[in-house]
C-alpha cells in the first residue's frame, strides 16, 4: 500500500483506470499517510476524508461500469491550497479572519477538479492571505519542510509543496502572486507552475493582488504538472480577466520534451539573477543545469533584463495597494469572525476590532503599505511609478523573447531557510521572491523544476524557466527534457532522496 504514495499521478491514473487498483484504495493510502506524517509536517489545515472517499468511489463506479472516466486524472488525489473556495468545506486562507467560514460556492478551479474526477484530499496551509514566503505567517502555525523539519517549505503555498514532498499527495494546487508556487516548489524539490496570467480562472480564488494572482499546478514530475495544468486551465466567463484562447498544448510539449532533445531551442540566462546575495551552492546547481541544457542541444546565451532590478520594489507597491482594497471586505458584517458585537460597540467599532484581531502582522503591514501608496498625493509617486516599472519589465521580457525561446534563472537565491530566521526581517523575507516576481508583473508563464541539491547543505534547488504569455508549452518542453537528463545524471529523481518521515512526530 505504501507503494501507492510514491507513484506519480500519471502512474496512479493508469492503474486506477485499468482497474488494477481502486481510487478508494489510492485515496485511503494518502489519507493514511497524512494521518501518519502530517502531525510533523502540518501541510493540511483541513482533511476532507468523507469528500475524498466519495469522489474516489464515483470514479471507481465509472471504471467498474466500463464508463469512460471523467479525465486523464480521474481518481488521482490532490491537495488544494486553502485560498480556493470549496462549497461546504472550510476555506480560511490561512487567516483567523475566516475561521469557521463555509463557502456557499466552489471556485472555478475547484469545480473543474471535481468535474475531472480528481479526488480532493483537503485544504493546505499557507501564509495568511498568501502574503509570505515561508508559510510562517499562517494563523494556524507553520508548515515544515519534509527535507528538514526545522526549515520552511517556502510560501505562501508551503502546505501544497510540503504535501507533495512528504508524499501526502501526488498533485497539488497553488497560487502564485509573487512566486508562491515556484519558490515553495524550489525549496521542497517539487515542480511548480505559474501559468500565463488569465489562463486559469481566478473565480473563487480569495484575492490578494488581483492583477498578479494566478493559480497553477504543483506536482513531483513535469508530466504530472502538465496533466493537471490541462484540467484547470481554460476560459471562464465568470472571470473578466480570463483569456478566451485555447489552452497551450502543455501535455504534448511535456511528452515531446521527454524525448530529451532540445536542439534548436534558444535558452537565455537572465544576467541580473546571480552574484551577490545568491547562495554559492544554488549557483553551482544552476550552472550544472545550464550545462545539461547545452548537452541536450539547447543554445544558451546570456540575456540582460535591466528593469528586473526594480521588480521587487514595484511589486511591494502594487501588491499591497490591491490587497488593501481586496481585504477591505473582511469587516465582520457578512461572514467570518466578529469581535465586539456585545451591544456596546457601533458597527464601525466592530469592524475595527475584528480587523485588529482577525489579521496577522504581515497582513496589517501590507494593508498599511497599500493604503499609503494609494493615498492622494502619493498615488503618482508610488502606485503610478510602480505601474510604469511594470511596463518596463514587460518590455524587457518582450525584447528577450525576441532572441530566445525561454529564459532561465535560479528560482530563489537560497535554499530553504530555518523557521524563525527571517521572521523579524521582512526585507530578507521579501528577497526570496526576487527572481520570481518579474513574471507576475509581466503576466507571462514561469515554472520551477527541481535541479538537484545544493552541495553545501544538501537541500533542493529550483531551476526557473520562463516563457512568453500563452507559450506555456515552451517551458514544459524544456523542463521535461531537463528532467530526463537530470535524473540520468543523478541516477534517479531527487525527490526520492527526501528523508523518511515515517513515524516522525513533533
Amino acid at each position: 500500500m505504501t507503494e501507492l504514495i510514491r507513484k506519480t499521478a500519471a502512474e496512479l491514473a493508469a492503474q486506477i483506470h485499468s482497474g488494477e487498483v481502486t481510487a478508494v484504495e489510492v485515496a485511503q493510502a494518502h489519507l493514511d499517510r497524512i494521518a501518519e506524517v502530517d502531525g510533523a509536517v502540518h501541510a493540511f489545515l483541513h482533511v476532507d476524508t468523507e469528500g475524498a472517499l466519495a469522489a474516489a468511489r464515483a470514479v471507481d463506479e465509472d471504471v467498474a461500469a466500463g464508463r469512460p472516466v471523467a479525465s486523464p486524472l480521474a481518481g488521482v488525489p490532490l491537495a488544494l491550497k486553502d485560498v480556493l473556495t470549496t462549497r461546504g468545506v472550510p476555506t480560511t486562507v490561512g487567516s483567523r479572519m475566516l475561521e469557521g467560514w463555509l463557502p456557499p460556492y466552489d471556485a472555478t478551479v475547484t469545480r473543474r477538479l471535481r468535474e475531472a474526477g480528481v479526488v480532493i484530499l483537503g485544504k493546505t496551509n499557507m501564509d495568511e492571505f498568501a502574503m509570505g514566503s515561508s508559510t510562517e505567517n499562517s494563523a494556524y502555525g507553520p508548515t515544515r519542510n519534509p527535507w528538514d523539519l526545522d526549515r520552511v517549505p517556502g510560501g505562501s503555498g508551503g502546505g501544497s509543496s510540503a504535501a507533495l514532498a512528504a508524499f501526502e499527495a501526488p498533485l497539488a494546487i497553488g497560487t502564485d502572486t509573487g512566486g508562491s508556487i515556484r519558490q515553495p516548489g524550489a525549496v521542497t524539490g517539487t515542480v511548480g507552475v505559474k501559468p500565463t496570467y488569465g489562463s486559469v480562472s481566478r473565480y473563487g480564488l480569495v484575492a490578494f493582488s488581483s492583477s498578479l494572482d494566478q493559480a497553477g499546478p504543483c506536482a513531483r514530475t513535469v508530466l504530472d504538472a502538465a496533466l493537471l495544468h490541462e484540467v484547470i486551465a481554460g476560459h471562464d466567463p465568470l472571470d473578466s480577466t480570463s483569456i478566451d484562447a485555447p489552452v497551450p498544448p502543455v501535455l504534448a510539449a511535456a511528452r515531446e520534451g521527454a524525448s530529451g532533445d532540445l536542439s534548436g531551442v534558444r535558452v537565455g540566462v537572465v544576467a541580473q539573477f546571480g552574484g551577490e546575495g545568491y547562495q554559492p551552492g544554488v549557483l553551482r546547481s544552476f550552472q550544472n543545469a545550464v550545462e545539461q541544457l547545452r548537452s541536450l542541444g539547447a543554445e544558451v546565451v546570456e540575456v540582460s533584463c535591466p528593469s528586473f532590478d526594480y521588480a521587487l520594489p514595484a511589486y511591494y507597491l502594487i501588491a499591497p495597494s490591491e490587497a488593501s482594497s481586496n481585504l477591505a471586505r473582511f469587516d465582520a458584517m457578512r461572514y467570518g469572525i466578529r469581535v465586539g458585537d456585545d451591544g456596546t460597540h457601533s458597527a464601525e467599532e466592530v469592524m475595527s476590532l475584528t480587523r485588529e484581531k482577525g489579521f496577522g502582522p504581515e497582513v496589517k503591514r501590507r494593508i498599511m503599505l497599500g493604503t499609503y501608496a494609494l493615498s492622494s498625493g502619493y498615488y503618482d509617486a508610488y502606485y503610478g511609478s510602480a505601474q510604469k516599472v511594470r511596463t518596463l519589465i514587460a518590455r524587457d521580457f518582450d525584447a528577450a523573447f525576441a532572441t530566445v525561446d525561454v529564459l532561465i534563472s535560479p528560482t530563489t537565491p537560497t535554499t530553504a531557510f530555518k523557521i524563525g530566521d527571517r521572521v523579524g526581517d521582512p526585507m530578507a523575507m521579501y528577497k526570496a521572491d526576487l527572481c520570481t516576481i518579474p513574471s507576475n508583473l509581466a503576466g507571462n508563464a514561469a515554472m520551477s523544476v527541481p535541479c538537484g541539491q545544493s552541495d553545501e547543505d544538501g537541500l533542493p534547488v529550483g531551476l526557473q524557466i520562463m516563457a512568453p504569455a500563452l507559450q506555456d508549452h515552451r517551458m514544459y518542453r524544456v523542463a521535461a527534457a531537463y528532467e530526463v537528463a537530470r535524473d540520468a545524471a543523478l541516477g534517479g529523481a531527487p525527490i526520492l532522496s527526501v528523508p523518511e518521515l515515517s513515524g516522525a512526530a513533533r
Binding site: Y203, V206, A207, S209, S240, Y379
Partner: protein, 500 residues
C-alpha cells in the same frame, strides 16, 4: 448649534448674490440583471433574496460587466450630447460602510464613459436654458441599512442595524452637470426643470423606471452663493434626500436663503452634506467634510477596459428617441394644442404619459383630459408626481376605450380609475369586482323606463305629444333608479320609442 437657521428673504438673496448650482443625478437602470452579476434587478422583494457571491462581495467572487448597462450608459451619454469614450476603465472607490459589501464601490473615476455634453431645458415661460453636462459614468448601487431602535431611524443611537443587499450591485449612471451659473432668481426653477427634462428623456430612452419616490432617480443638489460682482465661487453644500421634483426646487431655494443669511452676517459656509427635510422644507447638516475624503481610487484590476467600437456607438445613436424639445414641438402640432395647453401638459409632467396613452389606443383629447384633470387632482391629493401614480397609460387607455364602447359612463369610469389606483387590478377586473358595468340589458331598462313613465304620467303625455325635450326628466329618473349604471343615450332612445 441647535438654533433654528436664520433665513434670508429670497428677493434679498438674489439681489445680493448669484447662485451657482451643480446637480448630480443618480439613475438606477432597469436592466434585467445587476451591474456585475446575474442576480435579478428588481425593486423591493424579501430582503437578501436577490443576492449571490458577487454582489455580496464574498471572498473569491469576481465581477463581470453587464453589457446591457454599458449600452444604456452610452445611449444616455448620446442623448445628453456627450462624447463617448473610446477606451475607459472602472475604478475602485474605497470607503468602509456596512451596506457596501466589498467596502469599495466599483465606479468610474477619471475615465467616464460619457463626457462633455448638454441638455436644453425649457422653463415655464418658454425660456430655454442650456445645462452643460460634465460627465456620465457607470457605477453600482449599495445595499440598504435599516437602523432599528433609536428615535430617528439613523445609525446614531440605533439599537441594531439590519442590512439588505438586494439593491447592492444594481447598475447606476451618475450624471454630473458643470456649474450652472447666471440663472439668478430662476436657479431653483432651473434645477427642477433640469431634473424634470432629464427624467422625461430617460423615460423616453426606456433605460430606467425614473421613480424618485422609489429612489431609481436621485438628485444631489450642490448650491453656493457668489456676491454680485465677485469672480470666485463660494463654498458649496451638497443637499441629499431630495425625493421629488418639487423638493429639488424647494431644497435649492431654501439653501440659497440659508446661505444668504449666513453670509450677510459675515459667517462662513461650511462645506458639508445636508439632508432635505420634506415636511419642513428645510435642510439639516449631515456628515461634515472636515478633510476631503480620500477614496484612494485606482483602476479596478478585476475588470478589463471598456472600449465601445465607433460602429456600435453609431448604431446606438440610431436608437435614440427624439430630443425632449423637438418632441414637445411635434406633439403640440400633432395634437393641435395652444401654447397654454402645452405648458399645462408639460408642467403636469404629462407629455410622455399622454403620448403613451395615445399609443395604447386613446385619442389625444381624451388622454390629455384624463391626465391633466382627474389624474392630476389625484396626484396632488396624494402628494406625488403624476408619473408616480400607480396607474399605467395602457390602463387609462383601456378605461377610455370602455367609455367609448358604451360599457362605462364617465362617472363609472372615474370609479374604475379609483379602483386601479387602489391596487384592485386591471380596469376590467375592477369593473367586474365592483359591478360597474353599464346596464345594457334592454328588457331591464324597458322595465325601468315603463316604471318611470307610469310614475310621471303628465311627463309621459307631453312626450307622446311630441315634446321630446321632456324626455330628460324620465331619463334622469331611470338613471337614478339604475344607480347611474345605465347608458343615458340608450335610455333616451327607449323613452322616445316607448312613447311613440
Amino acid at each position: 448649534m441647535t438654533a433654528v437657521a436664520e433665513i434670508m428673504d429670497y428677493d434679498d438673496v438674489v439681489a445680493r448674490f448669484d447662485p451657482v448650482l451643480g446637480l448630480e443625478v443618480h439613475v438606477e437602470l432597469h436592466t434585467n440583471t445587476k451591474m456585475f452579476c446575474s442576480c435579478a434587478n428588481v425593486f423591493g422583494g424579501e430582503p437578501n433574496t436577490n443576492v449571490c457571491p458577487t454582489c455580496l462581495g464574498l471572498p473569491g467572487s469576481l465581477p463581470v460587466v453587464n453589457g446591457k448597462a454599458i449600452e444604456s450608459a452610452i445611449r444616455i451619454g448620446l442623448a445628453l450630447n456627450c462624447e463617448i469614450a473610446e477606451w475607459c476603465r472602472f475604478a475602485r472607490k474605497n470607503y468602509f460602510y456596512p451596506d457596501q459589501p466589498k467596502n469599495f464601490q466599483t465606479s468610474q473615476y477619471d475615465e467616464p464613459i460619457a463626457f462633455n455634453g448638454y441638455l436644453d431645458v425649457t422653463l415655464d415661460d418658454g425660456e430655454v436654458v442650456r445645462v452643460e453636462i460634465e460627465r456620465a459614468h457607470m457605477e453600482e448601487d449599495t445595499g440598504k441599512s435599516l437602523h432599528v431602535g433609536g428615535a430617528t431611524g439613523r445609525i446614531h443611537g440605533a439599537e441594531h442595524s439590519l442590512l439588505d443587499y438586494n439593491r447592492a450591485g444594481v447598475p447606476l449612471i451618475e450624471i454630473v452637470t458643470k456649474t450652472i451659473s447666471g440663472t439668478g432668481a430662476r436657479a431653483p426653477e432651473v434645477a427642477r426643470a433640469y431634473v424634470s427634462t432629464l427624467r422625461e428623456l430617460l423615460r423616453a430612452l426606456d433605460v430606467s423606471d425614473v421613480r424618485m419616490d422609489q429612489g431609481s432617480l436621485r438628485c444631489d443638489a450642490n448650491v453656493s452663493l457668489m456676491p454680485k460682482g465677485a469672480s470666485e465661487l463660494g463654498t458649496r453644500t451638497e443637499t441629499k434626500n431630495v425625493n421629488s421634483l418639487r423638493s429639488v426646487e424647494r431644497a435649492v431655494r431654501f439653501e440659497m436663503c440659508r446661505q444668504g443669511a449666513v453670509l450677510v452676517e459675515g459667517g462662513e459656509i461650511v462645506q458639508e452634506t445636508r439632508h432635505f427635510e420634506e415636511a419642513s422644507g428645510t435642510t439639516r447638516a449631515g456628515r461634515r467634510k472636515e478633510t476631503s475624503e480620500d477614496y484612494r481610487y485606482f483602476p479596478e484590476p478585476d475588470l478589463v477596459p471598456v472600449a465601445p467600437s465607433r460602429e456600435w456607438v453609431e448604431e446606438l445613436r440610431g436608437t435614440l428617441p427624439e430630443p425632449p424639445g423637438e418632441r414637445r414641438a411635434r406633439i403640440q402640432a400633432e395634437w393641435s394644442l395652444t401654447d397654454a395647453e402645452m405648458r399645462d401638459l408639460v408642467n403636469a409632467g404629462a407629455v410622455g404619459l399622454v403620448a403613451a396613452t395615445v399609443d395604447a389606443g386613446a385619442t389625444p383629447a381624451e388622454a390629455r383630459s384624463w391626465w391633466v384633470s382627474y389624474l392630476t387632482q389625484q396626484a396632488n391629493s396624494r402628494g406625488v408626481e403624476l408619473a408616480e401614480l400607480p396607474i399605467a397609460p395602457a390602463q387609462v387607455a383601456r378605461v377610455i376605450v370602455l367609455v367609448n364602447e358604451g360599457a362605462l359612463t364617465n362617472k363609472l369610469a372615474r370609479e374604475v380609475v379609483n379602483g386601479v389606483l387602489a391596487g384592485e387590478g386591471e380596469p376590467d377586473a375592477v369593473v367586474e369586482a365592483r359591478g360597474l358595468k353599464v346596464v345594457s340589458d334592454d328588457s331591464a331598462l324597458e322595465a325601468a323606463v315603463d316604471e318611470a313613465l307610469a310614475a310621471q304620467p303628465d311627463v309621459a303625455a307631453k312626450i307622446r305629444d311630441g315634446k321630446v325635450a321632456a324626455a330628460g326628466a324620465i331619463v334622469g329618473a331611470v338613471m337614478k333608479a339604475t344607480k347611474g349604471q345605465a347608458d343615458a343615450k340608450r335610455v333616451r332612445e327607449l323613452v322616445i320609442s316607448r312613447c311613440s
